[in-house]
């Protein structure tokens, strides 16, 4: 059972410039990882592919029936998740970095916390675990509640836009949303929408919880469909909106939701334009 975290969480900029960087620094990204880093990656991969679990269930994946080994592994996993206290010093666990959270309490025979990837944990896994497409499919299936407009529509999206769905990996890197000026973006519609998206996500920082963040990431995902697929194709689509039209013509709820976002952006830019019209610097 997945329960969305209603508490306030950091914003996307915090993910991009703090959480992702810290996690990459502490847990490593490349192949030369320490044993500790490999263990953390193992936990993240288990949660990515299986959804919410107790540490016992996580340990059982490796040692199906050997209870002694399961118990040892379970303790190790719990230590990695919640950190540890040595001589009064608390060393941070994966939870402290906002990658994993306690989802609920298990009500089975041995009650314990059920852990799952947070929304930032999902992004970080997409960035750093080098997941195959089929693993991303599994991850999508297990995290539909966290990202309902992306993972909740995964098979539908795949049937319409194929492998373009896997561009979601780039969101894990925080690509483009706050600094599209770093590269020359030749699609003006993409540029305006992603710029508005950045403004909107900053406005919403105060009310950010997992549900709101899930909505924002969905906007980000669909906006980047205006740009990234064309970047990969040899034969460019002249109608850059085509890929969105394909999706939204078949899902009217999504269409309505994204149309509202576009309307909001249009109103925002009109109002900003009016502000500038009022400037007079001639004496």
């Amino acid at each position: 059972m997945v329960i969305l975290n209603e508490e306030r969480i950091p914003n996307l900029l915090s993910y991009k410039y703090f959480i992702r960087k810290q996690a990459s620094k502490i847990y490593g990204k490349n192949q030369s990882k320490s044993t500790h880093q490999q263990n953390v990656h193992n936990i993240l991969r288990i949660l990515a592919l299986n959804g919410d679990m107790t540490t016992w269930e996580m340990a059982k994946i490796k040692f199906a029936t050997d209870n002694e080994m399961i118990r040892t592994k379970e303790k190790e996993y719990r230590r990695l998740l919640v950190g540890r206290v040595d001589r009064g010093h608390h060393s941070e666990g994966i939870i402290d970095l906002n990658l994993v959270l306690v989802d609920s309490k298990s009500t089975k025979r041995n009650p314990g916390n059920r852990y799952r990837l947070s929304i930032f944990g999902i992004l970080f896994c997409l960035d750093s675990l080098n997941l195959s497409n089929s693993e991303i499919d599994k991850m999508a299936e297990k995290h539909q509640i966290v990202l309902p407009k992306i993972f909740g529509k995964w098979n539908f999206l795949k049937s319409l836009i194929g492998d373009n769905v896997y561009n979601i990996k780039l969101l894990g890197k925080g690509l483009l949303f706050d600094n599209p000026n770093i590269i020359n973006v030749e699609n003006p519609r993409f540029l305006e929408l992603i710029s508005y998206f950045n403004i909107k996500s900053n406005y919403m920082s105060q009310s950010m919880n997992e549900k709101v963040m899930g909505e924002l990431i969905a906007y980000w995902f669909y906006i980047t469909l205006l740009y990234l697929p064309n970047l990969q194709k040899e034969k460019k689509m002249k109608d850059t909106d085509k890929i969105l039209k394909i999706i939204f013509s078949k899902d009217l709820d999504l269409q309505q939701w994204f149309s509202e976002f576009i309307s909001e952006a249009q109103i925002f830019y009109k109002e900003r334009s009016k502000v500038l019209e009022g400037i007079s610097i001639k004496g």
């Binding site: 890197k173 970047l231 990969q232």
Partner: protein, 122 residues
């Protein structure tokens, strides 16, 4: 299986990250360096097929990095990037077979075309 390895060298972390991400998106594996000295060491270690090298960097600028690099590897394939239109040693670099010099910000399309044009064919 990637299309090959590219070294990206830039002291601006955001440019370094964005350029690397796009190159990965195009199917290459990327190694990063934040200055010329680190770039020389990583080139020796990994022998990338192509290098994107920022011109203006602390410690050792892009041109001097290139001249050092080509002493050991005369066939190194290097594309310069500049945000300051710094062409001061470009002619000298061109004589030593530097491939191109592009101004920042560049488009992802341009990055892709240049990479496909210059990455050594197997």
């Amino acid at each position: 299986m990637t299309k090959g390895t590219i070294l990206v060298v830039d002291d601006d972390e955001f440019v370094l990250d964005t350029t690397s991400t796009l190159l990965e998106f195009f199917g290459y594996s990327v190694i990063q360096a934040k200055n010329g000295i680190e770039a020389l060491s990583k080139y020796r270690d990994k022998k990338p097929g192509l290098v994107f090298l920022d011109v203006k960097m602390p410690k050792m600028d892009g041109y001097d990095t290139f001249f050092e690099l080509t002493k050991e590897n005369p066939n190194a394939k290097v594309i310069f990037m500049t945000a300051h239109a710094d062409y001061s040693k470009w002619e000298e670099a061109k004589k030593r077979q530097a491939l191109d010099l592009i101004e920042k910000p560049y488009s992802a399309e341009k990055l892709k075309k240049l990479t496909e044009k210059h990455y050594p064919k197997k």
